[in-house]
Assembly symmetry: C2
Homo-oligomer: 581 residues x 2
């Protein structure tokens, strides 16, 4: 036996007990006569005491213990004279009778503390040591909690956890596949799944009715910051349901997770159409922790001789409350911000509503006080507020204003950690047009059902067709999305045609699904959450990487394993492939 | 809304209610005036009734419904005059007011019945239809139940579900890896994990203490019957534990699963050493649903002038109770059975203990009645029993006798479905010698800890070293196994040396794990269950394939997807590889 208790367990009621603990030496504090040692395990930290007077031999041995040594000790629980209310075990300490070293440690390359001295690269190389740090452990523990609570909730509703294969078939549509050479079928390849989309639809055709899986997915994309080549999805599908059933079911899931993991009772999630989200926030995943909704100003800003506005398709403002005191320098920063190439605005107009009631804008030349009063009134400005205005082509200026709004949200501290605002965004467009390839693409995927009332637009105005598709945004982050699927083979065939597939192409890529639809497909729909992303949002953190035990870096490398790596010529030969470098 | 109830839900207490159901047309029975239709969904079957007299238009429409059409219907629950006690809904039926077709179906290529007319190949090609059959659905449902109950049990004990990567590094040791070309690192490859072994050990080094994962594993092996290139493991690891802790924890898991999934209370699992299992059953995974233990007969069978016995290392028998009446033909069959090349015995000796008390053997020439009485007595034979005897080299003859024992178990119906006998097999050998490559191999894997008292044999008699390694066998099937791991870097280095690794090789393949052990590794150990296999055993079935929603065939092909398949030249070019056929 290595321990009677964990290092996070002992309390006042254990006083007087002989116990055994095992764990890592977090740190030692040597006061000559007394040596204090913090022993750490997953469950917490307990203070050990060695007394030179009582047992100098043992205390001398203890002094030689280095950081991160693993020891097993035996001792008596006593009340601390100097209690530490910050530690759950802070009321007690252990007078050690004896200990043994289970495993020595070299000095770690960085300190195993929340506030570590190790840089990102070093910590990734020694990820197994990074994972010892409490704040990283807590993230991995929270992920496990989200996982089991998700499962309990869905299992409780009758969802079946059904595993779908990882070695599947490559389909050119969508992102790039990772492929896996087959040895037994020379010259042929499996692909790793980008998602189990077609399998979950097949399971509905099979009649499983409610399916879920927490499943690994793979995309060989050019990695942007915070993208991983492998990632995890909470993948769900239901039969004989309408959109409303799905929204309610998964709103329930998210509420359950917030309640059980964070003890937060979320109110009903508001809903907004895609069009409204774009108009009010310039984003299909608005952060609604704060208002600052877009104010469209064409009617009051145009026709006053300011050609920049007059030539713009849309003049739009946001009212940054209590920001009228912004300095010249701060306003210049904002102008620089919107002019960055990633955002691409040509300039920024402002209107201050000073606390003395006066109005001051950067375009006073063109607008008189009455004009500016109209601006202020339409934007619901109060004295002390600052109106920021952009103009240009509608789609572009909305995106620019979205960035500016989020930036102002950050600067004014309106995007509070610990506050969570969920939002369903509904009625996404079914198709988007790609200028480059001169064709329509499915915005979601080619199985997404158009809204019944919009199907007639398929050949007249495809861009206007709305889909039964929905996303869940939390605090401005898209954590999940899904749709009602097409279950009618005729409509599905039309959709493939509209997307420019020939019959053969459609058959080659999605033949097994289209064939399945010939044998009685139920109405169905579903949704998938980005599990890594959901965990990061719950943790109030932007990066998903710390919620993954062994993540890859931005080049898709695992620096701890040093992978990918070369393989032997025999391996390649057996697989009938050759590197062409 | 598509339904108010499922097809498995309605009972006497629903009589009089107006309800809606949706599902698949299982079959129709047309009695002229009345049409009965069985409507099926995941939850059951409900009988619908159409009455020509009451609504001929509706009934005529219903007559045109084909098998596997998906319909939604509305009607009234009434009591059946002709109740069907075999169906949970057999007390009621639905007088249909109206229905609509949600989806038509072509005639399926085989009947959607437990007793289907579809052959294996056809069913695999249309797996989504095969999965509609009740017996297949039940297997997939049972698997989901085993999964969630496993998770609940382990989560309840504080195990953390931690995901490990799928894109890892290829290590030549062990079975063949599937590899994945990297586009971003040209000429380099990821490998898919054969198991998360090293990762779970790293997680212990990180201090996670209790880990589990239900995880996909990959092995590019030459596929024997009932092997899949991708399979699922329940993978577990614990720190600060001894073998006893692990056995108790996972005995608890298996008991929990049997109780919750099959409502079976399993008694404590017996334990047996590897040596004892080999001696008594010739197998490291004996089926102990029946006795028929080996009787070693050297002392009574040798030295009587029968050179076959005299020249054999081991003469061994099994007592097949109540089989003395076996005919000549049956005995010949058994002789043919043991002589098959896969088994390889040269002959089979028998002794009948006839019900009249007389003894009759196939070697009467060499053994007198007293000799044979000794045989009977040592084998605990009663009148009516049959002793079957093999002889040869110890290891070989034990394996042969194991096959014969299992065959006799089958023939005598001693391997009862529905009966479950679990057995821990302990103290596996650490190493096995490979004559071909003239070196020692780790029987389990190179991280397995030798028993403390056997370490001294490392350079004197390595074959005798026992490991802290254990397997769980249920009904003669190995469902899981594991070991205490080496956590001492010096011992680990010795082990690699003994296995013939140079320092560089060891460093190259397992460097990250050996490095991790430099920083304070806790004592740890674990175990992995073959999840597909465990489900098959729980289901009382030999084949794992039906417990996998989308399995591959014996050539590693998914015939539904037609995968693996060729990929485009552009894909290969982007990956810097070329097919060399």
């Amino acid at each position: 036996m290595y321990r009677t208790h964990t290092c996070g367990e002992l309390r006042m009621e254990n006083i007087g007990q002989q116990i055994q603990l095992s764990g890592w030496v977090q740190k030692t504090r040597n006061f000559g006569e007394l040596l204090f040692l913090d022993l750490r395990d997953r469950y917490g930290v307990t203070q050990l005491v060695f007394n030179m007077e009582a047992n100098d031999f043992l205390a001398e041995r203890a002094k030689r213990l280095g950081r991160e040594f693993v020891i097993q000790c035996e001792g008596k629980v006593v009340e601390r004279s100097n209690k530490n209310p910050k530690m759950p075990t802070g009321d007690i300490e252990i007078i050690v009778n004896d200990f043994r070293i289970l495993s020595e440690s070299k000095t770690p390359p960085f300190t195993i503390e929340n506030d570590t001295d190790g840089g990102e690269d070093l910590r990734m190389q020694y990820r197994y040591l990074d994972l010892r740090r409490e704040e990283v452990q807590e993230k991995i523990k929270m992920r496990a909690k989200v996982s089991i609570e998700t499962r309990k909730y869905l299992d409780g509703l009758g969802f079946l956890d059904i595993e779908t294969p990882c070695l599947i078939k490559s389909t050119p549509e969508g992102a790039r596949d990772f492929i896996v050479p087959s040895r037994i079928s020379p010259g042929q390849f499996y692909a790793l799944p980008q998602s189990p989309q077609t399998f979950k639809q097949l399971l509905m055709v099979s009649g499983f009715d409610k399916y879920y899986q927490i499943v690994r997915c793979f995309r060989d994309e050019d990695l942007r910051a915070d993208r991983q080549p492998e990632f995890t999805q909470i993948d769900c599908e239901m039969s004989f349901v309408e959109q409303e059933d799905i929204l309610n079911t998964f709103e329930g899931l998210i509420k359950h997770v917030f309640k059980t993991v964070k003890n937060i009772d979320l109110p009903s999630f508001p809903r907004m159409t895609y069009d409204e989200a774009m108009q009010k926030y310039g984003s299909d995943k608005p952060d609604i922790r704060f208002g600052m909704e877009f104010v469209e100003m064409n009617d009051i800003a145009k026709g006053k001789g300011f050609s920049v506005f007059d030539n713009a398709e849309l003049v739009v403002g946001i009212n940054a409350e209590n920001a009228a005191e912004y300095t010249r320098k701060q306003l210049d920063e904002l102008t620089d911000f919107v002019k960055r190439p990633q955002i691409g605005a040509t300039g920024l107009i402002y209107l201050r509503y000073n606390t003395d009631g006066s109005l001051k804008s950067s375009v006073d030349k063109f607008f008189n006080e009455d004009d500016l009063k109209q601006w202020a009134s339409k934007s619901n400005m109060k004295p002390g507020d600052l109106l920021l205005v952009l103009c240009g082509k509608t789609d572009k200026v909305r995106k620019q204003m979205n960035e500016l709004r989020l930036e102002m949200g950050n600067r004014l501290d309106l995007r509070k950690k610990g506050e969570f605002k969920c939002l369903w965004v509904l009625d996404f467009p079914l198709l988007e047009y790609d200028e480059a390839s001169n064709r329509w693409f499915a915005m979601h995927h080619p199985f997404t059902s158009p809204k019944k009332e919009d199907i007639q637009l398929l050949y007249t105005d495809p861009g206007k067709i709305r889909a039964d598709a929905y996303d869940l945004a939390i605090n401005g982050v898209e954590v999940g999305g899904g749709s009602i699927r097409i279950h009618d083979k005729t409509l599905q065939a039309k959709m493939f045609e509209r997307l420019g597939f020939t019959d053969e192409e459609a058959q080659k890529q999605f033949g097994f699904l289209m064939n399945a639809f010939e044998f009685g497909a139920p109405p169905h729909g579903g949704l998938a959450f980005g599990f890594d992303r959901l965990c990061a949002v719950l943790g109030g953190v932007d990066s998903i990487r710390d919620y993954i035990a062994f993540p890859k870096n931005n080049s898709g490398r695992d620096v701890m394993l040093d992978s990918p790596s070369t393989v032997s010529d025999e391996q390649l030969k057996e697989l009938n492939i050759k590197v062409t470098l």
